[in-house]
Every structure is written in structure tokens, then in C-alpha cells.
């Protein structure tokens, strides 16, 4: 299958470009932090490690999604490798989707390995902590609920990748990068836009802000770290809703990206 062949080539490029070296940094950072924090705090270290592990997964993933994502299509065009590729039986939408799936695969491996590293560390903490300390924990150390947080982090990364890829079909990497990071930041404060009509008096401005609220991605719901770390329940319905939202948003972005790229003159 053509799409899959394109995706695998992106994955292979990630490996050759040493993208996965970030995993090493992640592991060192996490283990180092665990040792340090374990010496400074009592009882709180578990929460901090969970927080740190999830935040680092999100952060490292974000950098891969943006830095690799903005180059996916742009690099092919800029280096002209796209000419020989598109002369083959590869449709332009197939190229765009294949690139997307390839990076999604890279991110999946990245997030999975990080999850494994964090769980190993947490299992070690569970094993090495005395009963008295364990009794004070809000949630068990190797809590399966953490997987929910990892899942939503991954889905959020998929969304960010789609944004980066969308921009890269018509803009250069610096512009795409700035826009994607911009979307990411706004996405986390998006909910504020909805209630701006209570603050601004001008009706058109309120309408504009409301329109932006619906147009821009809302990324806040993807961050359930605090809930999971504190042992609060995240219902399956919430997960499904959030994933559904991401799926629709990604589908729209990829359709738009394919549409734009399919009409571009590759001069």
C-alpha cells in the first residue's frame, strides 16, 4: 500500500535522524529527578515524578511533532525530492496522509517508550517504599489510570502534528513553526475566548472572539495530568468525547492540507 510505504519511510527517516535520542534524555531526566526529589521530599515525590513524567512526555512529543511536522511536506518540495516521488503512482493526498501516518507512528513509539520508562520507575518506587509511605499516597504508584493521561497526550500530539502538517503544505518552516506553537499556546487558553463577551462591550469583537473560539483548537481538555496524579476519576465518556473532538479536527485539517497541496504548482 502506497500510503503505508510513505509512512514507513518517514518512520525510517526519524530513526536515521536520531529523533529517538530524546528518549535517552527523557530517561536520564526522569531517573535523575527521582533520585533528587526522593531525597528532598517525603510522600510528595510520587506526585512530582508522575507530573514530571507526563509533562516531559508532552513536551518532548510537542517538539518532535512541530519540528518534524513542519518539514514533512516542505522539505520534500524544497529539496525537490517530491518530483520523482509524485511522478510515481502516488496521489498528493496519499503523500500528505502517508507523511502524517509516518510521524504519528514515530510519536506513538516515542510516547509508548516514555510510558514504559515512567511505569518502570514508578514500579520501583512502589517496591522500594515502606508501607507507611505508601499509605499516604492518593493513588498507587504504577497507577493504570496514568495510561489515560498518556493516551490524551498522544491524541493531542496527533492534533498538533496535523496543524504543523497543514501549515507546511503552503508555508515555510519558520512560519509554520511559529503558527503551530501559536496555535498550541492559544489552544490551552482557548476557553477564555468563549467568555470574553462578558468583558468586552463591542459586539462585533465579542462575535469575532467567539468565532475564534470555535475555529481554534481547544487543547485544555487533553491535559488531565492533575486529575490522574491526584487519583481523581476520568470517565470513559470524557475520553471518548475528547478523542472524538480531536478526530474531527484532525480530519478537517488533513482534508484541507490535501486539498491545498493537490492544487499547488510545484515549481
Amino acid at each position: 500500500m502506497v500510503l503505508w510505504a510513505v509512512a514507513l519511510s518517514v518512520f525510517r527517516e526519524s530513526i536515521r535522524d536520531r529523533v529517538f535520542y530524546n528518549l535517552l534524555l527523557f530517561a536520564v531526566l526522569l531517573v535523575g529527578a527521582a533520585v533528587l526529589i526522593g531525597q528532598m521530599t517525603a510522600g510528595q515525590d510520587l506526585k512530582i515524578i508522575k507530573d514530571l513524567g507526563l509533562a516531559a512526555t508532552s513536551f518532548f512529543g510537542l517538539f518532535i511533532a512541530v519540528f518534524v511536522g513542519v518539514g514533512l511536506v516542505w522539505k520534500e518540495v524544497e529539496r525537490r525530492s517530491v518530483y520523482s516521488l509524485l511522478a510515481k503512482p502516488v496521489g498528493r493526498p496519499e503523500l500528505v496522509l502517508g507523511k502524517y501516518v509516518g510521524l504519528a507512528l514515530t510519536l506513538l513509539v516515542n510516547v509508548l517508550v516514555m510510558a514504559v520508562v515512567l511505569y518502570l520507575l514508578l514500579a520501583f518506587m512502589q517496591f522500594s517504599s515502606p508501607e507507611s509511605v505508601r499509605a499516604g499516597w492518593e493513588a498507587p504508584a504504577a497507577d493504570p489510570a496514568l495510561l489515560k493521561a498518556f493516551l490524551l497526550i498522544y491524541v493531542q500530539l496527533l492534533l498538533v502534528t496535523a496543524i504543523a502538517l497543514f501549515f507546511s503544505t503552503f508555508a515555510g518552516p519558520m512560519v509554520s513553526m511559529a503558527l503551530t506553537f501559536g496555535f498550541y499556546v492559544i489552544g490551552h487558553f482557548n476557553a477564555d475566548l468563549k467568555h470574553f463577551d462578558a468583558v468586552v462591550t463591542s459586539t462585533p469583537l465579542a462575535w469575532l472572539l467567539r468565532a475564534l473560539y470555535y475555529l481554534l483548537p481547544n487543547l485544555a481538555p487533553f491535559d488531565i495530568t492533575a486529575k490522574v496524579v491526584h487519583g481523581q476519576l476520568v470517565p470513559a465518556g470524557y475520553l471518548l468525547m475528547t478523542i472524538g473532538y480531536a478526530a474531527i479536527y484532525i480530519a478537517v485539517l488533513l482534508t484541507a492540507a490535501s486539498f491545498i497541496f493537490s492544487r499547488r504548482d510545484l515549481k
Binding site: 518530483y83 520523482s84 503512482p89
Partner: protein, 317 residues
């Protein structure tokens, strides 16, 4: 059915950022290429050759006109399976080796892994990269990339192959390899459409050519018809012409030029029978080093047509 056909194919590019000005890169190109021929698409840089190729491969879209390959519109997905393309100054993925690149492209044509395993090394041997097959492409020179480019253009055993400046960046041995490759493809029934501004290469392999200048077709047809292939005269190089006999040799030629001690180049008019001159020279005691017909070369023709076209444009303006 033509292998390649274009009807009034036209491409305008927009130049400028705010105030877009149209720039006509290709102007009403109508061209037919027959199956199984090597067709040379000639013209100076900026003539519109690459634009035409990109239009045929749908890398850019025409402003007007249409193009067909193997009787089907260029956008047809089925057509892509049956064609190959070498872009100008090709560039591929740095992180892959030549084998991996061809394997990847073979996959895109749904070649089985057994087919790929058999075909890829053979192709790399054919383009002279057998020894470098496991080297990452980032280490490849321009000429080596050109060779990989040629191999990937024929990985699917295409019926029509488009080569944009296939000889560029190659040394004389490489150029000969490309010529042999093109002739081999034609033997196998493949139509070869190649662009070049290097006319000697075209002359060596093409059955028909088209000449493009300033986005317009200025001539097309069989090489023999386009060029005055009739002999324009003869050049004889003679040696051992002693000073005493120079005056006896001079009347035999239209022009006589001294090359070195006792060695001269003689230009004969086309009406003269060279055999008689050779006999006369032998009688005088001079020895003949070479005899060559003087012909109109593609280069001459090319320069003439391009300047005629430029002149015509000036008149029109």
C-alpha cells in the same frame, strides 16, 4: 495512439508578491511523440523544457491546453504506473542508500519483494553504481545522484520515460552510459523523451527532435529533415607536403590552411569529387591523414533558429 501528445499546452506563472504579473513559460505547445522513439526536446536554458516536463507529469497544472500520455490524460492514475521520470538535478533522501531508495520506489509500484530484490541490484549495476549501493545518498556526488536518478526512472520498466537533462553532471563515460541506456530502452520498446541543451548528445541518439526557445516551439521533426545533412564540402588533412609542391596542392582546394610543418588542412567545395583530389594528392607525394565531410550540425541549426526566433520577436514587438 501517440506515446505523448500535447495540444496548445500553455503555462503562465505569476511573478511578484503583491502585484502579480503573468509570465508565460510555455506558449501553445503542440507536440506528438510516437511510441518507441527517442525524442529529443532541445532548447537553451529557460526555454520551457522543464516546464513542459512538469506539465506532463502534473507537477504543475496548465493554464490552458491539454496533454496526454499513452492516450490518456496526464492526470490519470493508471498512466503513472507506466511512466518513469528523471528530474533535472535530481535529489533524493539523504538518509537512504541507493538500494533502499530503489526499494522504496519499487514498493510504490507494488513490485513484490522478490521482484525488487532481483531488479534493484541489476539497475544499479546498469547505471554503474554497483559498488556504491550501500552508501547513504548524502555521500553521493552530483554525477552519482544523476545515475541513481536514472535507475529510479526505470525501476518500473516504464513504457514512456521522461529524462530532464539526463547527461548533466556526468563525465564522458557517464554520458556514454546514458546514451547506451537510452538506446537499450528503445530496443526494448520504451519511448524516451529527453530534454537537453547539449546538442551533441541529442544528435547521437535522437530519431526526432523538437526545438524550443522562449517558451515556443520553433521547429520539430526528423533530425535528417531539420538539418541540411547534405555535405557542405570536405575537409582533407594532408601531411608530407614539401615546400616545393605547395603550389601544386593549392589549386586543388578552395582554401588551404597550414597546421604544422608540412601539414595542411584543405577545404573542398561540395561539387568536387574527393576521390579525384585524393588521387592527385597521392601523385604529388602528399599523404592523406583524414577526410571528413563538412555538415550542418545541430548546433549550427539550433543557433540559427534561436536567433531567428529572437529576431522575429523583436520585429513583432
Amino acid at each position: 495512439m501517440h506515446a505523448i501528445a500535447t495540444e496548445n499546452l500553455t503555462k503562465d506563472y505569476a511573478l511578484g508578491f503583491w502585484r502579480k504579473r503573468p509570465y508565460r513559460a510555455l506558449d501553445s505547445l503542440t507536440l506528438h511523440v510516437e511510441p518507441g522513439e527517442i525524442f529529443g526536446f532541445l532548447g537553451p536554458n529557460g526555454a520551457g523544457k522543464t516546464t513542459t516536463l512538469k506539465l506532463l507529469l502534473q507537477l504543475v497544472f496548465p493554464t490552458s491546453g491539454r496533454a496526454e500520455i499513452l492516450g490518456r490524460p496526464v492526470g490519470d492514475a493508471g498512466v503513472r504506473r507506466r511512466i518513469g521520470y528523471l528530474p533535472e538535478n535530481p535529489y533524493f533522501y539523504d538518509h537512504l542508500t541507493a538500494v533502499e531508495l530503489l526499494d522504496y520506489f519499487g514498493r510504490l509500484f507494488h513490485l513484490s519483494s522478490a521482484d525488487r530484490a532481483a531488479r534493484v541490484p541489476r539497475l544499479l549495476d546498469q547505471v554503474g553504481l554497483g559498488a556504491e549501493r550501500r552508501l547513504p545518498l548524502r555521500r553521493f556526488s552530483k554525477g552519482m545522484l544523476q545515475r541513481v536518478g536514472l535507475a529510479q526512472a526505470i525501476v518500473n520498466e516504464p513504457e514512456v520515460v521522461f529524462l530532464d537533462e539526463p547527461m548533466s553532471g556526468l563525465d564522458p563515460i557517464g554520458r556514454r552510459m546514458v546514451r547506451e541506456l537510452m538506446l537499450g530502452l528503445r530496443e526494448g520498446g520504451t519511448t524516451v523523451f529527453f530534454s537537453s541543451h547539449i546538442l551533441a548528445d541529442a544528435e547521437a541518439v535522437c530519431s526526432r527532435v523538437a526545438i524550443l526557445a522562449g517558451g515556443r516551439l520553433v521547429a520539430s521533426g526528423r533530425l535528417a529533415d531539420l538539418l541540411a545533412f547534405g555535405v557542405k564540402g570536405w575537409e582533407v588533412v594532408v601531411d608530407h607536403v614539401d615546400d616545393g609542391v605547395v603550389d601544386r596542392v593549392r589549386p586543388l582546394a578552395d582554401r588551404m590552411t597550414r597546421i604544422a610543418e608540412r601539414r595542411y588542412a584543405l577545404e573542398l567545395s561540395p561539387e568536387v569529387r574527393p576521390e579525384r583530389v585524393l588521387a592527385d594528392l597521392a601523385a604529388i607525394g602528399a599523404s592523406v591523414v583524414s577526410l571528413n565531410p563538412l555538415r550542418d550540425t545541430l548546433e549550427d541549426y539550433f543557433m540559427r533558429r534561436v536567433s531567428e526566433d529572437g529576431h522575429q520577436r523583436q520585429v513583432e514587438a
